[in-house]
Amino acid sequence: MSQLATPVAAYSVVIAIGGVAVRVNTSDKNFLAMLYNRYAGFVGDHATAEFEFDIDLRQPESADPEADVSVTCLAGRWVMQRGDFRAEWDPRSRRGHIRQSANPYAIDAVLRIVHTLLLARQSGFLMHSASAIRNGRAFLFAGVSGAGKTTISRLAPTDATLLTDEISYVRRAGEPEQGYVAFGTPFAGELAKSGENTRAPLAALYLLAKGAENRIEPVRAADAGREVLANILFFAHDRETVQSVFQTACDFVHHVPVYRLTFVPDARVWELIR
């Protein structure tokens, strides 16, 4: 993708996730410091920025501060809003604007939404799952809250590299038969710790369930498709995005092994994951 040619703002940071660099500009030094701290390990070079957002630290005029996220496309511009932020983004100009309260969760949500929109066009997705690299191959561990994403992350042996305990970043490597790649993300769950900013070819997706024994079972294709769709993050429900995400999920289960991993919450489970 082409790079931005505009001058770097006085206070700005480039946050690069999945190799996609987003520059965030703010006039607030303290907020900038928070961004550097929160996205440490994912701070990129300014010359690599592909997209740019200006942040206006004012509470958005929202009728409902607790309102859930909504994402709509109006004449090619994406409008993203929640009780604590309102953002607009024009993918053509590669620029956007965020009005938000000075909390880290709003910018985090906007980044997640932007990446889901970008990934939807690149045969990729963000998934509610932990992920880790072992022996040069990446593994995803998906499940609802309480299924064990953070537990299995905590139990990871020292030779495993944790990519995230909460939100995994997956993109097709090229042609479908070339498989998929998992990237580290700064999107942390209960572990409250960013993943490593690295990548590896994806070997398998495990659907987590805690149980009385460690067991791996194959999952039928249709069940795998349903589970993948249930765990993919997507906020925009326009026709094109829905169709794209659906086809990506189906392609994914066609090319990546999906297993159900029932596990006792102790380190022995990692003996099965190699």
Binding site: A221, A222, A224, L229, F234, H237, R239, V242, Q243, Q247
Partner: protein, 106 residues
């Protein structure tokens, strides 16, 4: 049965056969459906040009051991149900090309 009914796949959905099951997702509200074998046959044959009674005769009665009149009544009920969910379009006239992307995978 005097009137002809025509059915077509809605363009506002995405569909894919995974294993033996047809998954269909509404592009309107992202609802995910799994079609049973009869619904899958009906959905795959719903080209907007073939009357429902012909689909039943050639695709359903040939596949299942069912009474043709009963099968047609069941198919009309099923088609109406799928139409209510936004998966199929129904008309008493042939329906123009409105086919969603359909792919199959093992």
């Amino acid at each position: 049965m005097s009137r002809k009914l025509y059915v077509a796949r809605s363009p506002r959905i995405a569909a894919r056969k995974l294993g033996e099951e047809m998954l269909v997702m509404s592009a309107v509200d992202s609802t995910l459906f799994t079609l049973n074998p009869t619904a899958t046959i009906l959905w795959q044959a719903a080209d907007g040009a073939t009357p429902l009674d012909e689909i039943v005769e050639h695709k359903i009665c040939s596949e299942f051991d069912v009474n043709p009149d009963e099968a047609l009544r069941d198919a009309e009920t099923l088609a109406n149900d799928l139409a209510t969910r936004g998966i199929l379009l129904i008309s008493e006239q042939p329906i123009g090309a409105a086919k969603p992307r359909l792919q199959e995978s093992a």
